[in-house]
């Protein structure tokens, strides 16, 4: 009897706003502890929340991007529990009526098709602060900079049937939220955290008892945790036992999960409507305006790049990873329209690679699309060869000079003059009589040696195509 895995995912995604969900404090990551706080997010007596409308708009945008229904009236609730990093003793969240309900995300399947995965809801809520225990003796420290930072909780249907599908869903969602500009999605900074609900059943049977793996922030750990959990549950059932409904914590060091709390120990959060905030009302016109401003989404963009620019699916995928890259790519194509594929190669492989090495984002790129296009123009008209072009790009990363200036200054102009190339070839042949004899005796492989020598003698400037052509001619003798 074969087993089927059933997975549902809850993603906590930080909404990138300048200020917190219910007060004016900055959301910038990494500040000194407790420097980005005020009486509201510290939960001081008498302080009241005021909703950040940017967070509302971004939640709506996310909902629209997953084809969901936007509730024109949604509600906030209080979720009550005590913890030192939860200053008010309750979290403001949306429990009964979330702002977004009923959307979906399509993931690619192995056979080249697509599978549709349901998204139950997206609700808005506030983050808690951070408790720190490590390295402290008998005390804990609390940093409330994160307290009140806006989150979207994106809850899926239990539609995934494998860890791979779960990861595909998460990657798609992760790309989407960054693409929409609604979240930085930086997993290391906790801006994209995942809880996975996992159960197993024999095919055709009703859902089994699920366990919840809490708070994972790496795709690799999520995959490991789900796979570990599936094996654990199947073993329990096959041994005649029963899976217990509980929350479990993934230990990425030991690569195993352990129980956090069982259903009996589960909190009663005593949800009730937040009396400090009236129902959240948005008009259809506001929703329509947000929809009108929605950027082209990654899937559509990928397809368009393949069709319009003839890109490989790999390149199209890389260039639609973020909205920033796709916009950059299209401005490069606009400046170097003759060869969109060359644009794709140079952006995806050369520039992004160099930026990554320098620890920079595309936004901080020292080379603009216009400057890179200037370089590609010179590759296109054979003024320089590819090797020189890469060296020039290295220079451009360090200076403000355009490609032509560097070519001129360094004398990198490609030699495509037959006479000049023939002169070099003849010198090389004269210096290597044994190899010439060898080649003429049938050692075809020596061709590579001659190309190398000629390129070296030309200090890399010789047009490689012409070198090959003339060598073949002259070596025949």
């Amino acid at each position: 009897m074969s087993w089927e895995t059933v997975i549902g995912l809850e993603v906590h995604c930080q909404v990138n706003t300048d200020t917190k969900a219910f007060c004016g404090c900055s959301t910038v990551f990494g500040a000194e502890p407790n420097t980005q706080t005020c009486p509201v997010c510290l939960g001081m007596p008498g302080q009241l929340p005021v909703l950040n409308t940017v967070a509302v708009d971004k939640s709506i945008l996310t909902g629209l991007a997953i084809n969901a229904h936007i509730n024109l009236e949604s509600k906030f609730d209080r979720k009550n529990y005590f913890y030192p990093d939860l200053p008010k003793g309750y979290q403001i969240t949306q429990f009964t009526v979330p702002i977004v309900e009923g959307g979906y995300i399509d993931i690619p399947t192995k056979d080249g098709g697509e599978k549709r995965l349901g998204v139950t809801r997206i609700h808005m809520e506030e983050d808690a602060g951070k408790s720190m225990h490590e390295g402290l003796d008998a005390v804990s420290h609390i940093d409330l900079n994160r307290s009140g930072v806006p989150l979207m909780e994106i809850v899926s249907e239990p539609d995934m049937r494998s860890a791979d599908e779960a990861i595909a869903y998460l990657k798609q969602l992760h790309q989407l939220i960054r693409f929409l500009g609604v979240s930085g999605g930086d997993m290391e900074k906790g801006q994209f955290r995942c809880d996975a609900n996992v159960s197993v059943r024999r095919k055709g049977e009703p859902f089994g008892t699920r366990t919840e793996m809490k708070n994972m922030n790496s795709f690799r750990f999520i995959k490991q945790a789900i796979e570990f959990e599936v094996v654990r549950q199947i073993e329990i059932i096959e041994d005649g036992g029963e899976v217990i409904q509980e929350s479990r914590l993934w230990d990425s060091v030991k690569s195993e999960s352990r129980s956090m709390r069982s259903k009996e120990e589960a909190h009663d959060y005593r949800y009730f409507p937040e009396p400090d905030l009236p129902p959240l009302r948005v008009s259809q016109q506001e929703v329509d305006a947000i929809k009108a401003g929605m950027p082209e989404l990654p899937g559509e963009l990928r397809k368009r790049f393949e069709a319009e620019y003839g890109l490989s699916s790999y390149d199209a995928d890389v260039l639609s990873q973020t909205r920033e890259i796709s916009v950059w790519y299209e401005s490069l194509v606009a400046a170097h329209p003759s060869d969109p594929k060359r644009c794709a190669n140079w952006l995806a492989n050369e520039l992004l690679g160099r930026l990554k090495e320098a620890g920079k984002d595309l936004a901080d790129s020292p080379v603009s699309a216009k400057r890179l296009a200037g370089l590609l123009d010179r590759v296109g008209d054979n003024t320089i060869n590819g090797k020189s072009a890469k060296d020039i790009l290295d220079d451009m990363m360090e200076s403000d000079d355009d490609a032509d200036t560097i070519i001129e200054a360094k004398g990198l102009k490609q030699v495509s003059d037959t006479g000049a190339i023939d002169t070099i070839i003849l010198e090389v042949m004269a210096a290597n009589p044994d190899q010439v004899a060898g080649y003429r005796g049938g050692k075809d492989k020596l061709m590579g040696f001659f190309v190398g020598q000629v390129m070296k003698a030309s200090r890399g400037k010789a047009n490689p195509g012409m070198v090959n052509q003339r060598l073949a001619e002259l070596l025949k003798g």
Binding site: M44, P45, G89, Y90, R270, Y271, F272, P275
Partner: protein
Amino acid sequence: MPFSSLSDIQSRLNNGETTAVEIAQLYLDRIAAFNSTLNAFVHLDADHVLAQAAASDAYRKEHGARALEGLPIAVKDIFCTQDGPTRCCSNILEGFEAPYDAHVITKLKEAGAVLVGKTNMDEFAMGSSNETSAFGPCRNPWDTDRIPGGSSGGSAASVAAALTPAALGTDTGGSIRQPAALTGITGLKPTYGRVSRRGIIAFASSLDQAGPMAGNVKDCAMITAAISGHDAGDATSVSDAPAIDWLAACETQDMKGLKIGKPKEYFVDGMDAAVRQSVEAALQKCEELGAEIIDISLPNTEHAIAAYYVIAPSEASANLSRYDSVRFGHRCDNPEDLLDMYTRSRDEGFGSEVKRRILTGAFTLSSGYYDAYYLKAQKVRTLIQQDFIQAFEQVDVIATPTSPIPAFKLGEKTDDPLTMYLSDIFTIAVNLAGLPGLSQPCGFASNLPVGLQWIGPAWREDTVLAAAAAYEGATDWSNQHPAEFNINGGES
């Protein structure tokens, strides 16, 4: 002289007869003389009061007078104030000093008022007698063996004994109106959303509203005019509330054409006979002034107490979770662990009535009971609101007794919370419906003041003030003062 109205003091200040410093000193002297008897003030910094008064005199000289220039006003200990402690009369807020002023405090300061101390109250405004205060009970100036009502008992006693000419209170289920009634003064609870709640320590967020307590209707209007208005920092403060000419409403002298609703549910067996008689007589007086008294029914009134004692504790149980000893307030000695710190700090910091309400609220919100209690109470609340909406299709304003009984003796009801809760039976529905309500004196029962309550439609404080002003002008009840305190402070 001691029982001067705000407008009297204002005109004496305006014509140069006196100064804000002189006025402040006069009331400080009275507080010094009488507070030990009444325990109306739990915090007072006389130097700071005089400094504010001096600053006000200087401002007047330089720029002219603002709306409340130089007028001394006491505030309940529930309002956060930057100057000095804010305790909400609870031990859990031991050592707490707010780094901010409540919005209404800012408004009073901007209007030039001189803020005088913090007044006694039931702990976290949970009580109807001022007996749950961590600072001990406050006493009723009409009979110091009796309670002044609650929870704004200190503010009521302060005004009734002329320790200040006016005070701010808050009203969640009657906490302005009931003590006003029991001490023979006037108190107004504005429409929910009229006055910002920011910086007022929350008891039940959907019910709390701040308002004035003073010697007469016009003084209440002056203060409300100053503290009301939209505050972007309170999402429940209404931005498009209809504007009111507060002072013009108080010029009303008759009741010609006014339709007053008399709800049968507010005149019932079990209430004090003399209270009933006083209110009936007051309604007769209104008829003489030209009003038409119309018998009405508010059928869901009987469920108001039950709904209130689910909704208010539910909200309170969450509102009071922030007092966890982590960031401020009382923390127990040598906690063993986190749970011990929470439970012991809160056990030591909260009084028994507060604990009772937190437990009640936690219960009514808990999984499995939510539908039966909280949800049902919210439905009742809607029905009560509808009762009033229907009534106001028929009448302009509703008149009722404020409290079914006059001030009772200290300790008389402390062992019986349910009887205590019933003392708010006539005020609670007004909070559940979010309506404006005013209590003014209308007679005596066994030498203790009786309050007449006016209830208006939402945002129609002007109707309420007009009716109350006309009644006040035609009677002498607001000029009655407890004899023991009707002497100048220095002479006692």
